[in-house]
């Protein structure tokens, strides 16, 4: 993975010192609340419902075991012993003390981590495929490009006060595992007719209260122009984006209102003026960055192992875990392993310091000392020899990290909701727990197959409900917590936004409503059809009827 050089380290330590100074001035009353607000957000610090929330960047989801141990240490020393992995591949701490934040920041900097630009109206952490570099359907490792974007966007002097937050995602595989079309800018790496690899550029996607899928604005962009094109897009947005209404300030509204073609024209005009500037990447720039992401020294004998086959046939629990939580790898004899952070009774994405320490040790022992975070709020050990899978499974199980539920209904994604967040209208963690209790039969879950349930506690949509096969959105109604259901959302290449089922449903009826939806699916599906495909085929009506019929009967 990318390692800092002296420049990266210097600039980060200067940032730590700057923020320490700002915090001192704030605590001494020399910096006003609103002035400090803009500055602290750009350093990942939110003031929340009960305590501050501190969001730490995990650039495109890559973590070393050393970094994860540091996060465990921070959880122990400064928080209540756990952290929360987010839908943007980052991690949040919910119980830190405000005055401790500069010290935590310095701790992070000691392991090449930071919290810079994890909030605020600036360019946020770039995200990508959690299987980058090991995926069988990958064209080229997207991480060198993500790191180029990270450096270009970090401390960018022109783009610190944009109309609104700005998120970029990159995908380089056949299957989009990075929800590219839900981002302000989405980059698909692809090959053109001449056989060259370049980028397809999409702009104006986003969730939140007005979910919109992005629009393709350029079919193919040659490799050297990645940064100049991004700079052109963000400059057009900075100059022309709306600022007087927070709810209409994202680039998605601008693109929707003016149309993709008109927007693309503005970008192309700007880009033509800067494409030959120093922003143009040279072959060496790209090679230098790729040298940080070289293929590891894989064990050539890995595929000769016979233990894996033996345990698959002799241990049903292991076989079940392999079927759901282990995925193929481009290197023969290797697999990528999903560590489920969705054990029953645990808020999705939460991870204790003991678990982090264990995972760090396992990463060292079995996966070349690295791991990845996913936008589904799980972790991945990407380079595990098949012969090590059985031992790894047993050790993960000791800390409830081997729940074989990846891709099932219980692998739901979920924001912190009313329990923590100052913006939420309704709880989400409690609903997740109730769903877990109701649908605790693994065989039933497996029978349901791939099912993406996504839940947000408010319109801001941190839980990506709009692109859930089943989406649950918390709303406030009559002073209580109510929930709006959507069906048919999807975050992959074939992206779509969910359709609203009908009026919001009361808290104590939401689990029944989900069950009604699942029952209709089971009745209606043909063969191995996924929930999403059944919905797309039969439409809303049967689901709607059953959901509200149940309600009336109750």
């Amino acid at each position: 993975m990318y390692r800092y050089d002296e420049y990266d380290q210097k600039i980060l330590s200067e940032r730590v010192a700057q923020f320490r100074g700002q915090m001192q001035r704030y605590l001494a009353g020399e910096l006003s609340d609103p002035d400090f607000r803009a500055l602290r957000l750009m350093n990942g610090l939110y003031f929340q419902r009960f305590a501050p929330m501190y969001r730490i960047a995990i650039p495109y989801g890559m973590l070393s075991s050393t970094q994860l141990r540091k996060l465990a240490e921070i959880a122990r020393q400064y928080d209540r012993g756990y952290g929360h992995f987010t839908t943007r591949q980052n991690i949040q701490f919910n119980w830190c003390k405000t005055e401790d934040i500069p010290d935590i920041f310095a701790e992070l900097a000691s392991v090449e981590m930071h919290s810079v630009q994890t909030s605020g109206n600036c360019i946020r952490n770039t995200t990508t495929d959690q299987l980058a570099g090991v995926a069988v359907d990958e064209l080229e490792d997207p991480r060198p490009y993500c790191e180029l974007i990270r450096q270009w966007s970090s401390f960018h002097p022109e783009f610190a006060y944009l109309p609104r937050k700005f998120k970029i995602a990159v995908s380089s595989s056949k299957q989009d595992r990075a929800a590219v079309q839900m981002h302000d800018v989405g980059v698909y790496m692809l090959r053109n007719e001449a056989g060259e690899i370049g980028y397809q550029i999409w702009v104006g996607g986003g969730l939140g209260r007005t979910p919109i899928l992005s629009t393709k604005i350029r079919e193919f962009l040659e490799k050297p122009h990645l940064l100049s094109y991004l700079e052109a897009i963000v400059r057009v947005y900075n100059r022309h984006g709306r600022r007087n209404d927070t709810n209409r300030a994202r680039i998605k509204i601008m693109v929707r209102d003016m149309g993709g073609e008109a927007f693309a024209e503005l970008v192309e005009n700007e880009w033509n003026k800067i494409k030959d500037s120093y922003l143009q990447l040279t072959d060496d720039d790209i090679l230098r960055m790729q040298s940080h992401f070289t293929q590891p020294d894989y064990d050539a004998d890995a595929a000769n192992d016979t233990q894996f086959e033996h345990y698959l046939n002799s241990d049903k629990g292991f076989a079940r875990w392999v079927q759901h939580n282990v995925t193929e790898h481009k290197q023969p004899g290797y697999r990528a392993v999903y560590i489920s952070l969705k054990a029953p009774g645990i808020p999705p994405g939460d991870c204790t310091h003991e678990q982090m320490d264990l995972i760090a040790d396992l990463a060292d022992q079995y996966s070349l000392g690295e791991l990845r975070t996913t936008h589904d709020q799980n972790l991945v050990l990407a380079d595990v020899r098949q012969g090590d899978l059985y031992a790894l499974w047993q050790k993960l199980g000791e800390q409830e990290l081997a729940t074989p539920n990846i891709g099932t209904l219980n692998d739901m994604i979920c924001c912190p909701g009313l329990d923590f967040c100052g913006l939420a209208n309704a709880g989400s963690i409690g609903i997740a727990e109730k769903l877990n209790q109701r649908f605790d039969d693994l065989d039933y879950l497996y029978d349901l197959g791939e099912l993406k349930l996504k839940m947000s506690g408010c319109m801001n949509g941190c839980g990506h409900h709009s692109v859930g096969h089943i989406g649950i959105l918390g709303v406030e109604k009559k002073g209580g917590e109510w929930y709006q259901l959507t069906l048919g959302g999807d975050a992959t290449h074939d992206a779509s936004l969910g359709d609203r089922v009908g009026p919001a449903i009361e808290k104590d009826q939401i689990v029944d409503a989900i069950e009604a939806i699942l029952t209709v699916y089971v009745e209606q599906r043909e063969g191995d059809e996924r929930f999403l495909d059944t919905y797309r085929r039969v439409g809303m009506e049967p689901f709607k009827q059953r959901v509200y019929a149940t309600k009336e009967a109750a």
Binding site: D5, Y7, D8, K10, I11, E14, R15, A17, Q18, G21, Q22, E30, P34, D35, R37, A38, L39, N121, Q151, W152, S154, F155, H156, P157, E158, F159, A160, Y161, L162, R235, N238, R239, R243, N244, D245, T246, N247, A249, K273, S277, Y278, L279, T282, D284, D285, R288
Partner: protein, 177 residues
């Protein structure tokens, strides 16, 4: 508009000699003044009777490339950095003029003083503004100017090229290989 008593120019605290004249007010006979783009354009940038300098003031929605030929001879260009009221927060630093500054310096080639003015001009943003090509600052009232000067030295490195600042890191890495 009441001018601040002091300003920072080229990282030095200096007495502010500029006055910003509203469109509703008559131009004074003398002194260094700024006028709106509208007034500037009406006079075609010529103020032969005025004793002292006259410079143009741009609101942050102006397309600087489009108007530049008419303002290139202005001895100074004043840019606006307001904090605007949004429906939700009531406090939103508006960063449009960061782009204006870079375009003036890097694309139009303006060599005169670019001066930042407005509620957003506080110590903590000076370095980014400077890197975008701004070299003079009328600080919001209540800022400690001595401490503000120190803020220019908070970062010694930069990832990006811009109008000014250290040579970007990637160019040095490029040169090293």
């Amino acid at each position: 508009m009441t001018p601040a008593p002091n300003a920072i120019v080229n990282r030095q605290v200096v007495e502010n000699h500029w006055q910003h004249i509203d469109d509703d007010s008559a131009l004074p006979d003398s002194g260094d003044i700024t006028v709106s783009l509208k007034r500037w354009q009406e006079a075609e940038g010529q103020f032969p009777d005025h004793v002292g300098q006259v410079a143009v003031r741009l609101s942050n929605d102006i397309d600087v490339e489009e108007v530049y030929p008419g303002i290139a001879h202005s001895p100074m260009i004043l840019l606006d950095f307001p904090i605007i009221d949004t429906n939700k927060r009531g406090y939103h630093p508006d960063g449009k003029a960061y782009s204006q500054a870079r375009l003036l310096r890097e694309r139009c080639g303006y060599r005169g003083e670019i001066r930042a003015h407005g509620q957003e001009v506080i110590s903590d943003v000076l370095l980014y503004m400077e890197r975008c090509g701004i070299n003079a600052f009328e600080m919001r009232e209540g800022q400690n100017l001595g401490k503000a000067i120190a803020c220019f030295s908070e970062f010694s490195e930069a990832y990006q090229g811009a109008a000014s600042g250290p040579q970007p890191i990637f160019l040095r890495r490029r040169a090293a290989t």
